[in-house]
């Protein structure tokens, strides 16, 4: 059984995303010598021979159906909490109201374990950590990643340490704390956590699962691209709006499309990729508009959209490259409009977006307004987490049942 599962693994090597230098597969890799993310490479001709669409269709509707394009070698190392294929939901009423020129679809990633798309990356990264014999791991997080990381580590029996900015959402800190006793708040932004983690890596032998600082989270995130291709019948949508903090998903989907083309499952047509940030923390938007290939850190960044409160990411070059190659763009939205859009979509189409998902809705509406979406173009917006993580306080209305009720007032 073990041998059979190894045969399904087509990993060949890791590759520096900047220099192309080659690193050995199945290693506890961090960044490349050039300080840049490593990309996992496969023998795609072998994958093309090994995997058919029919075989794929016969498998359970979850992330692990893509096994031949994932790095885990042995089936028993897969750490899973049920990473189901997430639904694509139409929003016809909202689309009509804003005069959308084409279909508006929401990829509801809140259905994943721990209620966010972070589970994709961390399911693969923790599986790899297990395969590589890791016993202790660490993550810095602004919110959702910490809970996903801690849940998968608990399931794998790996001791986990979570560090977050001290104003990270209470709900996500509480969630992570269910899975591990080692959740710490630190004064500063997510980017300020790196030195603290660096120190602990030496002393406590933490495996560092920071975004893009190990190569395997990206592999989990790329399954969003696989799923979209499958859900669109091996075509792709015209636009993808993606809330961009660390940017792993954007980079991952792009990698997924290339891999699918290499095995002959899709053509060369690509969606225009749109990175969505907040106007008050928009390093990628600024760099894109200035024509830069790297993004300088954003100073004193604050936004009420927790997932995009990322003033700098080591994936900056890759993100900007994807935006340009795809003829996409980057757009910043107002925090104030985000909460309002969330309420509007819930009332019109019954979907409770997370703030980051609502930010993509604001961006899409703005693009419709300025005529950036051609007639008939289909857009997919990523709702990266369950709206339940960030409740919207409601007005309270009381009825006293011991008195006559005035039904006309309801």
């Amino acid at each position: 059984m073990n041998d059979a599962s190894i045969e399904r693994c087509h990993l060949t090597h890791l590759e520096c995303s900047l220099t192309g230098d080659v690193y050995p597969a199945h290693s506890r890799a961090g960044l490349s010598a050039a300080g840049r993310p490593l990309l996992v490479r496969y023998d795609l001709s072998a994958v093309a021979r090994a995997l058919t669409k029919d075989a794929l269709n016969g498998r359970p509707a979850d992330m692990w159906r893509w096994r031949e394009l994932l790095p885990v070698r042995r089936t028993e190392n897969i750490v899973s909490l049920g990473e189901i294929t997430t639904p694509l939901l139409e929003s016809p009423r909202f689309a009509r109201r804003i005069g959308a020129p084409g279909p508006l679809l929401i990829k509801d990633e809140g259905r994943l374990p721990t209620g966010s798309f972070k589970s994709r990356g961390l399911s693969v990264a923790v599986s790899m950590a297990k395969e590589l014999g890791v016993t202790r791991a660490v993550i810095p997080t602004a919110g959702n990643a910490g809970a996903a990381f801690a849940a998968y580590c608990a399931r794998a029996g790996i001791e986990s340490f979570v560090f977050c900015p001290d104003d990270a959402p209470e709900s996500t800190i509480a969630e992570a704390s269910l899975f591990t006793p080692h959740v710490w708040r630190v004064n500063g932004l997510i980017t300020d956590l790196a030195p603290l983690i660096q120190g602990g890596k030496r002393i406590l032998e933490w495996y560092d699962m920071s975004t893009l600082k190990e190569p395997y989270r990206l592999e989990g995130k790329k399954t969003m691209g696989f799923e979209l291709a499958e859900q669109f019948g091996w075509e792709l949508p015209d636009f993808i709006f993606y809330p961009t903090g660390g940017g792993t998903g954007l980079i991952g989907m792009w990698k997924a499309f290339d891999e699918l083309e290499a095995i002959g499952w899709i053509g060369s047509k690509r969606p225009r990729m749109v990175a969505v940030q907040s106007r008050t923390c928009a390093p990628i938007v600024r760099a894109f508009q200035a024509g830069h290939s790297e993004a300088a850190p954003w100073e004193d960044g604050f936004t009420e959209v927790p997932g995009v409160r990322v003033p700098w990411t080591v994936g900056d070059r890759l993100i900007l490259q994807v935006l340009r190659e795809s003829e996409g763009f980057a757009i910043a939205v107002d925090d104030g409009a985000v909460a309002q859009a969330r309420i509007e979509l819930a009332a019109s189409d019954g979907i409770n977006l997370c703030p980051e998902g609502a930010a993509t809705l604001v961006a899409y509406r703005e693009c419709v307004r300025r005529g950036d979406i051609p007639d008939g173009a289909c857009a997919v917006l990523f709702n990266c987490a369950s709206g339940l993580k960030n409740p919207v306080p409601a007005p309270t209305r009381h009825i006293d049942r011991h008195h006559a009720v005035d039904y006309s007032r309801l």
Copy 2:
């Protein structure tokens, strides 16, 4: 297209669950003349001819793959928010720790729209309401049903009214309020809401979607039984532990098993059905233990497990019947043990149960302790909602990054 979709509908009539009296299909039905729930009946020979397992496998992994055994006639009336097949998760570490004699599986219903299993029933009920031309609907709820109801009504364009006890969880009231402005708190228990709703039905022409007071929610809930059968390869587990408030799911699954046997997809073997309630609000447990066929209302019922805070249900006879026919039983648990079990399972297996789900875990552990689970017996526990709806407050730990960190203390 419409004609084709009608051909897939095999509904014949509605039937009083007490007297067997027949009522017309496709009507805005409430309770029967005997004041009891109506059951939807199908031409199961026709279903057996129309539906094959191969056809089923080729359909998307969601609730609507069971279309031939659901009451909606026209495809365009389906109101869906992506009712995906929910995962079955093993809990090997917890099982080992408590000395479980067989596999312990959790059906994670928190992945459904609005984060709870209420979406199954309300997706079907609201679809039927749309098909029957309903424009205004009402529901009494202790929590999760209100949000699901309001979300599906928003999507269908049906005006919705939600009434809940004034101490219902804040989070679920906030969630429902996203989808409708008509959310009202009322002093009293869920059973106290009936007269208030009765009054409004006359004046505002509400369609009443109270548990089991219309026949279609049950049809959505029964898909839990279909899914389990499919996930177990057309066998069934030995035990099903189900948190029991209104009891629709328990009754629904039992109906599903009978329908699957009638179309020849499963044999006569059934799981032992176990109704789980709280010791402080346990009408079904009391009635079961006393050998009664009906359950008297529980006086002054209070429990911190919101979903089972139901002192009486119109489905009492049906629930007790299912427990007895299945050679199952009813068991009450301590609220205090529930919170603790939830934390234990999260830390051991990475699963964040809702309080109701954790109640089934306490019940299962108690059954293991007293030797009620035979060697090798497989148990499925229903986690009926996302744990995110009821966060567990966490201890707060701070690090000042401007000072040296004592890593040994982490």
